[in-house]
């Protein structure tokens, strides 16, 4: 296990800047989730660390060692690919054994069998071990591809949206499983996703990427409570943060262009009046879609609320975020 640092990483593909001066430290034993929409540079970051691509500028170190010029094999990284990348002519077992059969490792067959059995058990694919890799469903393939990384004990795990094609229940199971594997083994894990629930539940640190720039890096709680910009604020939290012109409520500080309100920053019961447009009952919570001075607001209310469309609710901001014209948060 090792610490991973990226310093001033810049990568261009033709005229597209995939990564722009990204600097971050993935502490030893941490679970870092990179968050951002498609094209933000998440996968490129993983490829820089894995050595599948080399940065135009900047350095990557793993465990204090400069990785410049080193091949993926020399970096001791295990990667889970979004498109599974299983070896199609091999069975599930052979796929899982593949990394262990590297001559660098010299693992005994007994040890290989034990590890493959263990990982198969964990990922619920034991009964499929002797199937062809191509004869699996998408979710099974993805589990095999996760398993292929987990059989190893690398310096760092790199995972590119490993849970994206699983069904909701399995995804929830594996979220817990991955988190506990990481916590138990103390592995360093760099994980790419656009699913904020994965980020919130598993990460020790979240890196928010926007068009190749790392805009914020820190514990998920911190990013949720102290976002640096509208962009970072809207990565986390469900329902999403409401962004309105700053002057609708009054009391905005100097230079504020917009006000950001998470559901818990909207106090119900006093303040100014809004109209209930829609009531979404999700069971454990109920979402209110409000119309306020020709702006739409989504917030959360008591699960057993009596409110119906057309009702009036008074709302007032409580410790809201203010953002300036560029979208940056005002302290």
């Amino acid at each position: 296990m090792a610490e991973v640092t990226l310093t001033g990483i810049t990568k261009r593909y033709g005229n597209d800047v995939a990564l722009n001066d990204v600097t971050m430290t993935v502490p030893d034993g941490s679970f870092v989730v990179l968050l951002g929409p498609t094209g933000a540079g998440k996968t490129t970051t993983l490829r820089m660390v894995s050595g599948l691509d080399t940065p135009d500028l900047g350095t990557v170190t793993i465990g204090g060692r400069d990785m410049a010029g080193l091949m993926p094999a020399q970096r001791d990284v295990a990667m889970v690919f979004q498109q599974y990348s299983l070896y199609p002519h091999l069975t599930v077992r052979q796929n899982l054994e593949f990394p262990l059969k590297s001559p660098i490792l010299k693992t005994s067959q007994k040890e290989i069998d034990r590890k493959v059995g263990e990982v198969g058990e964990m990922l619920q694919i034991s009964h499929k071990l002797d199937n062809k890799a191509t004869a699996l469903s998408g979710g099974e393939m993805q589990r095999v591809s996760i398993g292929r990384a987990l059989v190893r004990d690398p310096a760092v795990f790199l995972m590119d949206e490993p849970l994206s094609s699983l069904d909701a229940k399995l995804r929830a199971d594996l979220r817990v499983e991955l988190k506990s594997i990481q916590a138990d083994s103390g592995a360093t894990l760099l994980y790419v996703t656009h699913d904020q629930i994965e980020a919130m539940t598993m990460a020790t640190h979240v890196g928010v990427l926007d068009k190749g720039r790392l805009v914020q890096f820190g514990p998920p709680r911190e990013i949720y409570e102290q976002p640096v910009s509208i962009y970072a604020a809207s990565r986390l939290g469900q329902p999403r943060i409401n962004v309105l012109p700053a002057e609708v409520f009054g009391g905005a500080p100097e230079g504020a262009r917009t006000i950001g309100l998470r559901p818990e920053q909207i106090r119900q019961g006093d303040g100014e009046e809004s109209r209930v447009e829609r009531v979404e009952r999700l069971g454990d919570q109920t979402r209110l879609h409000l119309r306020f001075k020709s702006h739409d607001i989504v917030t959360v209310t008591d699960a057993h609320t009596e409110l119906k469309p057309g009702d009036r609710v008074k709302i007032r901001p409580e410790k809201p975020f203010y953002f300036d014209a560029s979208g940056a948060r005002l302290a």
Partner: protein, 315 residues
């Protein structure tokens, strides 16, 4: 769903045609459409096959149509299978078939492997490499006779350049020992690009990410080649071998043009021999039996092979 284009088409059909079609069931219409093809197939494929099999039991000669045809039973087959000359042509064919396939697979795969690397101008190179394939076999045969010419031939010159032997001291076409190799070399020159193209399709079908995964799994290039590249290209390669095998079993034009089957009978492949029996000696019944034997051989080998190919594909 009521106004699909098929409905529109049906309404647009002229009344008279519609009335005529009305009496036909779907099955009837289906038969109507396939009938011309089936007729053609029967006329030019199935009927001649059956007729050949029938003739193979007789002593019919097509240049003496008025002579009484005698039923000779299996005598034609017996004579062919016990004829040492025919076994020699079979051997020549096997030699040709085996070595052309070996060389074309090795060279074709190697070229595909090189061309598949991303470098500047590889499209141009592909076109250049594929060029021999586009020529007529007769033309290729003809100009290889020049290349093999002992005094002025480029081939002899190149061999001489690398080995130091006198270029005029050997003749690829005139020598009993060299002639079988002369046809192998010419055919390999012409058809390796074909194997390359098919292998290239195979290589291009392997996603980069599989190699990247192997790279992260610390597999050496050597191991990647044997555990990813070869198994994934194998079905394509086997298909190329099937095509080349069937083609070369029937090889005629290139070899006739190049060596004419000589010297002696050293490059007389079965199809050349068969043509002589049928259209020079006019032993129609006998050559029919010969053709049936060849047909059964190539059909048998091909079906065994296709079975193996399907097994590989399933893996």
């Amino acid at each position: 769903m009521t106004d699909t284009s098929i409905d529109k088409l049906a309404r647009a059909t002229p009344k008279t045609v519609a009335r005529r079609i009305k009496g036909l069931s779907d099955r009837g219409i289906a038969w109507l459409f396939v009938a011309p093809t089936i007729f053609l197939l029967l006329a030019v494929n199935i009927f001649p096959l059956i007729w050949t099999i029938r003739l193979s039991f007789t002593d019919f000669r097509v240049n003496r149509p008025n002579r009484d045809v005698e039923w000779v039973g299996l005598r034609n087959y017996e004579r062919i299978l016990t004829d040492p000359d025919i076994w020699a042509t079979m051997q020549a064919t096997a030699h040709f078939l085996f070595w052309t396939i070996v060389f074309q697979v090795l060279i074709g795969f190697f070229l595909a492997f090189l061309i598949n690397k991303k470098f500047k101008g590889n499209d141009l190179w592909t076109t250049i490499i594929v060029f021999p394939m586009m020529l007529s076999p007769a033309v290729v045969g003809n100009f290889w006779t020049f290349l093999y010419q002992p005094q002025i031939g480029l081939f002899n010159y190149v061999v001489a350049f690398f080995t130091g032997v006198d270029p005029a001291s050997f003749s690829m076409i005139g020598s009993v020992n060299l002639a079988p190799w002369a046809i192998v070399i010419a055919d390999t020159w012409m058809w390796s690009p074909f194997v390359m193209l098919i292998c290239l399709a195979g290589l291009r079908s392997i996603p980069d990410s599989i190699y990247e995964a192997a790279e992260c799994d610390r597999a050496s290039k050597w191991r990647q080649f044997w555990t990813i590249t070869v198994p994934m290209v194998l079905p394509f390669l086997m298909l190329a071998v099937l095509f080349r095998g069937i083609e070369n079993f029937k090889m005629f034009d290139l070899v006739v043009q190049l060596t004419g089957g000589g010297p002696g009978n050293t490059t007389t492949l079965t199809s050349i021999d068969l043509k002589r029996e049928a259209f020079e000696r006019w032993r129609t019944g006998y050559s029919s039996a010969y053709a049936v034997i060849l047909f059964v051989t190539v059909f048998g080998l091909a079906s065994i092979y296709v079975k193996a190919l399907n097994k590989v594909k399933e893996r």
